[in-house]
Amino acid sequence: MNKTISICPFCGCGCSFYLVTEGNRVIGIEPSPLHPMNKGMLCIKGWNSYEFVNSPKRLTSPLVRKDGHLVETGWDEALRTVSSKLKETQAAYGPGALAFLCSAKVTNEENFLMMKLARAAFKTNNVDHCARLCHSSSVAGLALTFGSGAMTNSILEFEDADLFLIAGTNTTAQHPLIGTRMINAVEKGAQLILMDPREIPLAQFAALHLRHNVGTDVAVLNGLMNIIIQEDLYDKEFVASRTEGFDQLKSVVSRYTPRVVENISGVSAGALEKAARMYAGAHKAMLVFAMGITQHTTGTDNVKSCANLAMLCGNIGRPSTGVNPLRGQNNVQGACDMGALPNVFSGYQSVADKGLRKKFEDAWKVENLDEKPGMTITDMMMAAQKGNIKAMYIMGENPALSDPDSSHIELALSNLDFLVVQDIFLSETAALADVVLPAASFAEKMGTYTSTERRVQLSHKAIDPPGSAKADWEIICAISSLSGYPMPYGSPAEIMSEVNSLTPSYGGITYPRLEKGFGLHWPCPKEDHPGTPILHKDKFTKGLGTFMPCEFRPLAEAPDEEYDFLLTTGRIYYQYHTGTMSRRVSVLEREAPQARIEIHPEDAKRQGIRNNDMVEVISRRGAMKARAEVSTIVPRKVIFTTFHFAEAPVNMLTNPAHDPICKIPELKGCAVKIRRSA
């Protein structure tokens, strides 16, 4: 029995545990008792995160499609096929016909290499990953207002906050060890204002629950700011010394009087006034948000409005304050940091900046790096359907289930000349591929992950990968070298040295420092820098914080006479994203074996639906069936379900309409009809 220190592969909390192994099998989990994030604790997913690693369904050999079927092959053939197809496509159609998807599940080093493969070896900026679908609006919105698109404060600070404004995050389910800190703080006297259409578990701890209509966040936030300004409750000194654009803000939000907001959002004027006074009156208020804010056609506006509110009350740059987007995957923060985005290199260094391009060209010994930002996932899928993207390399992502309007995604992927998918399981996406490459899981390789609080941590290898599976970084190196751009890295540490030298915010985050201790918060520019748990302390990353007032815009697809319900989607505690991992954990699958559609009792009665009845939900794009859960968790005329289950693929229904700035799709709201199914 051996014990190897590792980082949980599920959400973005960054909990640390020992993998308990016997031979080449992980037989259990032992939470790290001293790690400040989890202190010997874990959630149900963390405690059971070993099981999928041992699954007999793991990919153990490369697969290639022959006569329509995926058949096992050796690495030689698989890698040669990938390399030659990518080269051929590049030669025939230009680099812009290629697209690369990084992964929020793999290490920083691997994301860095994938982005380098796209940019240096294949000369395209068409590189993106699923942050597009979760927090691209946070990255965009906070970069514009503050200059840095990440969580401003750190997780330990939740314990000492006076007030939480929680918008669109079911924290006890999705970030359990942040949710429990909120509960503990409330029990010690902190106040909680919840902004959520659903009555999530945290509602029981809320002093005030604003159940606004789905998609009316900007109106509610503007309404709060209007009251705070009208009643002279804002932090004048902070506004004067640290920010710009207050007059524009004042003029925009002044139109959002409590009555106007009540009409738009359904939140009563009285509740809005109370919330405004509570938030403005708190000394240390943390604004916390997740997908409920970001996954809208107005996602960037929603985020900017959150930033505006925090700046207005001076809740930035101090302990237990800030604007805190909770990142949903173990390394979605890191994948963004590593430049797995179409417009930036690692450390958010713009590809459009000639000097920065020169720096990367020199380091990578290449010329003419692509200067035009590449395509986002949203655009790539559209381009694939139109035939403009010809080949795609997907690492550790499952867009066939996770992206909106699945029929369109499947058409797009099927329309490619060549699709290569690298994964630990034959996911719904991998099943569509021409070549499938078997990857090592988190337990089978070394590397770093960056948690939602910007804490970069090292995870160690506990066992060997199954069969001939290899670590993602090894596969990328092999493909790059075969394609004529050698990547002779001997270890993840060597890759991290390159990240250190090219990425100012990661400059001092080196392996020797990560070997001991509990990770480092970026920015950490130098070897002797202690890291930065709190951003924007004395000045914003961009200098002055900029108020960016937004006008309310309604959902892209509101319910109408025919499609009379609003469908909103999300996640549950027991499953994780498209279920590739969690559905292979027996206890999680037992707890939540099937999709449920939450519907309000009054609506259910009117539709003749009883609890547990099979119901059909239909949108303009598709239909799905699942069992009803009649519950007052959802308000009237709103139904909720999750995207975990391939048998009930809710993204057949969702609307691909997206935010104009960051291209995030409106997964949180579309019009549907619902009926009892035979």
Partner: protein, 338 residues
């Protein structure tokens, strides 16, 4: 009675490690103590109780119980000779309750064989390991009365070593163990034990809560109050020395091929009691928490508990590691209205 000088201990452990799978307190990479394979450079006597009890050596969090091949199955019993060095009295008591439960009405061949093959060396405590220790209340510490092969008492430069089983005699044949005058040693040990007992005050609320539960007079709404904040992580059960529940599932590798597995489970998960119809006799977290704590404090089986107080051994880990403070100590306070 025997004794051993502290600086003679490591060579003895080295020698035992040749004969047993030897688990000992080992300092992890960040200074935390875990029970792991004895490693000389990371072994340290200045340790606190590890965050997990040693029950995983009797029942790992997950294990193969049958191997299925060609539609036939083979039971997999794997019980290497094992020594647990330096476990605390509460954990030794936990192993006793665990083993008794697992063989009371039906013998669990997997844990039984491992129990038989496991030598337990207890390190008696002369005070609390953490502020949540309450073994004096549950009559399961700070020193072991039974359920050990050897018990070490820290006397400064030397350990006094008490023998608790016939098979332990052979272990003391190592030349580093010296004979001690029994009378003097007994006196020293008595003093050590008294010091330990004095340093770990009895928590009156435990007995009070047990009485209240018996009389059906727990504080009203106590389970509602606690159930509302429980996130069903299962942590209190996973870290509990006496929790034994497991789930059985299959890892199917192909037609007629695979593993039948079992893994730790908990009565705090809804699916643990959900019936095939979908009906759940314990439909919410309130009733599940109530069930778990009543099992420890009210419905424990006399035979499992032996001469201890109840189904809890007072290690305090559930209080240390519950993210929302629903450990036994908080629960008994709540039940008894403190």
């Amino acid at each position: 009675m025997k004794s051993i000088k502290k600086d003679h201990l490591v060579p003895v452990l080295n020698s035992w490690a040749q004969r047993f799978r030897l688990f000992a307190p080992v300092r992890g990479i960040n200074g935390e103590f875990i029970l792991s394979h004895f490693q000389k450079p990371n072994f340290d006597l200045d340790y606190k109780k590890p965050s997990l009890p040693p029950k995983s050596t009797l029942m790992p969090q997950s294990e193969v119980i049958f191997e299925v091949e060609n539609n036939g199955y083979r039971e997999v019993v794997n019980a290497p000779q094992t020594m647990l060095f330096g476990i605390r009295a509460c954990d030794a008591a936990g192993l006793v309750q665990f083993a008794r439960f697992m063989s009371r009405d039906r013998e669990d061949v997997y844990t039984k064989s491992r129990t038989d093959e496991t030598i337990k060396v207890v390190m008696a405590c002369d005070g609390p390991q953490t502020e949540t220790c309450f073994c004096t209340t549950t009559k399961s510490g700070p020193y072991a009365k039974k359920g050990f092969d050897l018990q070490f008492y820290d006397m400064g430069d030397v350990f006094l070593v008490e023998t608790g089983s016939p098979r332990a005699e052979a272990l003391l044949a190592e030349k580093s163990f010296f004979d001690q005058d029994d009378g003097k040693a007994a006196k020293q040990i008595k003093g050590f034990k008294e010091k330990g007992v004095r340093a770990i005050p009895v928590r009156e609320t435990v007995q009070k809560a047990m009485d209240r539960l018996k009389e059906g007079k727990a504080v009203e709404n106590v389970w509602e109050r606690l159930g509302k904040k429980c996130i069903a992580c299962g942590g209190c059960v996973y870290v509990c020395p006496t929790c034994t529940c497991f789930n059985v599932y299959d890892e199917v590798s192909g037609p007629g091929r695979g593993h039948r597995m079992r893994s730790w489970d908990t009565c705090l998960f809804g699916g643990f009691t959900r019936e095939a119809s979908g009906h759940n006799p314990r439909p919410d977290q309130n009733s599940r928490l109530q069930r778990r704590h009543e099992h420890k404090l009210l419905y424990y089986h006399r035979d499992d508990v032996a001469d201890m107080l109840c189904g809890c051994v007072g290690c305090g880990r559930c209080s240390d590691y519950c993210p929302v403070h629903i450990g036994t100590l908080e629960v008994v306070d709540a039940i008894s209205g403190q």
